[in-house]
């Protein structure tokens, strides 16, 4: 029912536009922009999302220059869909032949190397397993994850002082084991 209303309204505007009514034409194009923008945005991949506005404008331009191909006896929305679809397919073809990615999107591929981090993390876990679970949790939370000592203590239901002592003892024990004695 709603689609029929849209069709009736847009078709009325289009017929008035074809007869030279510039006001109706402006309303029609503004209306179509609102439908077309999300329509293209839904169909575009995230990499090309910024092209939606270009496609809307290309479609409006095609509606204008090719308006004589609208057959007054046929549904307007079908014609509009065919024009928009043509512009979309055109876009897909253009970018399927030469897929392009903006330079600023390309750079971060080499900016961070995940494999070293993963190895480090594995080592840390091995080391931490040498101390009691609660101590290793506290060390992980305060030294690796950036939690404050007060928060970490609250999570384990102990006082801040007890947490500090526990962390200190744990680190001391680990240094004893792995650093060849206390420094």
């Amino acid at each position: 029912m709603q689609a029929d209303e849209t069709e009736m309204r847009l078709r009325g505007l289009m017929l008035a536009s074809l007869d030279g009514d510039a006001t109706a034409y402006r309303v029609l194009l503004a209306d179509l922009t609102r439908y077309l923008r999300p329509w293209f945005a839904r169909r575009l991949s995230p990499a090309h999302a910024s092209h939606a506005e270009d496609l809307v404008q290309e479609t409006l331009l095609a509606i204008h220059t090719r308006r004589s191909t609208y057959d007054r006896t046929r549904p307007f929305t079908a014609w509009l869909h065919a024009v928009a679809h043509h512009k979309f397919v055109d876009h897909v073809r253009r970018y399927a032949i030469r897929p392009t990615v903006p330079l600023e999107d390309d750079a971060p591929i080499f900016a961070t190397d995940d494999s070293a981090n993963a190895a480090d993390r594995h080592d840390v876990e091995t080391v931490l397993s040498q101390v009691p679970p609660r101590t290793s949790d506290l060390i992980r939370q305060t030294r690796l994850e950036g939690t404050t000592v007060a928060e970490a203590a609250a999570r384990h239901g102990i006082t801040e002082t007890a947490a500090k002592v526990s962390i200190h003892r744990g680190l001391k024990a680990l240094m004893g084991k792995f650093a060849g004695g206390e420094k």
Binding site: R26, A30, E53, S68, H86
Partner: protein, 212 residues
């Protein structure tokens, strides 16, 4: 930015009467056919010395007249529909194929009864006939393709093919007035070939020039 565009387009709006595409195509066809009639007269009558008047056998002249005109009209039925972004039509193209098959079938029967006689198939002009038909259709093809450039065909290739079918049909129709061949098989093979070549030429050119 899009609002600017809308304002510019609205300022540029001019009334567009109904059936604009159809009228443009008919106008292009008339201009093209007139150019073809003059061109064919100049090339065939004056340069190649073929008299106006067609074949000796009136029956065969009318067969060619009707056969070629049918292709032109079938193409003309398809062209305005295929010129639209939402246009789908298949019967004129299927009809053209069927017509060629019927001609080949009945021509083949007559040829078989004549014991596959080579002169009946080749006539006097088999080697030039298809090329002259393409040449005769060229003015119509150019006129129709330039008219279609203002349209928005769903498939530029198919729209170009329809334009080529019209051009081939009317080109061959004009050519028939200067053609002295009397064989049914001659018409079925060489006229069809000339029309098909023009249609394919239209499809190839259309693929590029009718993009929008």
């Amino acid at each position: 930015m899009t609002d600017d565009l809308i304002n510019r387009l609205a300022a540029d709006l001019e009334p567009t009467p109904p059936r604009t595409i159809e009228r443009r195509l008919i106008l292009a066809l008339v201009i093209g056919v007139l150019a073809t009639i003059v061109g064919v007269y100049l090339v065939l009558d004056l340069m190649m010395g073929r008299p106006f008047g067609g074949a000796d056998s009136a029956m065969m002249f009318w067969a060619k007249f009707g056969y070629t005109l049918a292709f032109g009209l079938l193409g003309l039925a398809a062209a305005p529909v295929l010129a639209r972004p939402d246009g789908r039509i298949i019967w004129p193209l299927a009809g053209a194929g069927l017509l060629a098959l019927i001609a080949l079938g009945s021509g083949g029967m007559m040829w078989m009864r004549a014991d596959w006689s080579m002169p009946m198939l080749m006539g006097q002009t088999a080697m030039v006939c298809p090329w002259l038909i393409v040449l005769a259709g060229t003015p119509v093809l150019i006129a129709l393709l330039s008219a279609l450039r203002t349209a928005a065909p769903r498939s530029p290739t198919l729209a170009g093919f329809a334009a080529g079918l019209v051009a081939g049909g009317f080109g061959a129709w004009t050519y028939a007035f200067y053609c002295g061949e009397t064989g049914m098989m001659f018409m079925a093979v060489w006229y069809s070939l000339g029309i098909a070549m023009t249609a394919l030429l239209g499809a190839v050119i259309g693929k590029f020039v009718l993009r929008w």
